[in-house]
Amino acid sequence: MSTSDSRQTENLVAYLDGELNDDDASRVEETLTEQALIRQEVEKLTRVWELLDLLPEGKASATFTERTLFAVQTQLGKGEGEDADTRPIDTMRSSHWKRRLRRIALRTAAFLGLLIVASAGFNGAFRRDTAPMDQLLNDLPVIERLDQYREVGDLEFLKALNNSGLLNGNASADNSTSE
């Protein structure tokens, strides 16, 4: 059902219940005059509402009044504890708002708490993770040539090889210089 259909049905029901102001009621009546489908709808709603008259009426047992008044008499000797739902309507309404405000405050506090815990957890995890990442970045040039280094196996051998001049053409020059 679309929003406008839903609003129209709400107005039809409110019209049937005598809950519309004069202007809204006039508008509904105009619609009813013009649209046969809406008239049918109203008729169905009315007939269904009338069917509820078939429901059995409540009937107290013969002894109910007597038993209730007796129960009340036995209450006389007891203290008059306050039942929350017997407070005056206005008081209950304001307490209802207080309850709602308290619920909202609790939910906000819980949400903020969750946010703090989550951000602390995220930061902790992120920091722990960045240290190894930095190390890996530093070691990247070595890692890229790791296979070659492994094949050589020994650093002293590399130094000796470098000094021997086999790896470049400066070996004799170096030797002569050193001499």
Binding site: K44, F64, T65, M92
Partner: protein
């Protein structure tokens, strides 16, 4: 209506409510006035409870509990609404609490149309047989009453309570809102959905 501040005309309207006057007499120690209130409202409360609760036997117990609460509250009574609105507010809270405690005890009460783990019960088989005859058949009053009762059962608890207060207690949306701790637009919406649901359920029988 303002939540906390009642206008003078509202207060005067409540004070003109004869049941508010009776309750004020109860507050002043008039036991007979309390008896009058019990007699005036006992059938109405039992009617509401027997439809709202799925435990017909509980209706009288709950109605009695409502009266006991009213009596216990007598010394603090302030007329801030019609007496019926206050009374059905107590009834609505009591019914809600009762439903919650029943749910906590996990007492599963099967509707007449719900089968148990052992399959359909004999009365369900009979009901199914009867419903097979439905199309075009004339329903007698008792059968139709059962159909309507099941349609009402199909509503959720809040829809049911709003319908009962509106239909049988002729309560305005404002009073239903006060009795059920809802806003007036919420009541309007609740009743519309309830009546739509009832129409869907009962239209084939019109």
């Amino acid at each position: 209506m303002s939540a906390a501040v009642a206008t003078d005309s509202e207060r005067n309207a409540w004070l003109r409510d004869p049941d508010v006057q009776r309750m004020l007499r109860v507050r002043d120690g008039d036991e007979a006035a309390f008896g009058e209130l019990v007699e005036a409202y006992q059938d109405r409360l039992i009617g509401i409870f027997s439809h709202v609760m799925r435990e017909p036997d509980a209706a009288e117990d709950l109605a009695q509990e409502v009266f006991l609460r009213v009596y216990r509250a007598r010394s603090r009574y302030q007329p801030t609404a019609k007496f019926a609105t206050w009374l059905f507010r107590i009834a609505n809270n009591l019914a809600s609490n009762r439903r919650r405690s029943v749910a906590r005890r996990k007492e599963v009460h099967l509707k007449t149309t719900e089968s148990g783990p052992l399959g359909p019960r004999p009365e369900e088989v009979l009901a199914t047989d009867k419903s097979a005859l439905m199309p075009g058949r004339q329903f007698d009053k008792q059968e139709m009453r059962e159909v309507v009762r099941e349609a009402l059962e199909s509503l959720n608890e809040r829809q049911k309570m709003a319908v009962l207060l509106n239909k049988f207690e002729h309560m305005s949306y404002v009073d239903i809102a006060a009795a059920m701790d809802l806003s007036v637009p919420a009541v309007k919406s609740l009743l519309t959905r309830a009546r739509e649901n009832l129409r869907v359920q009962l239209e084939p029988y019109l």
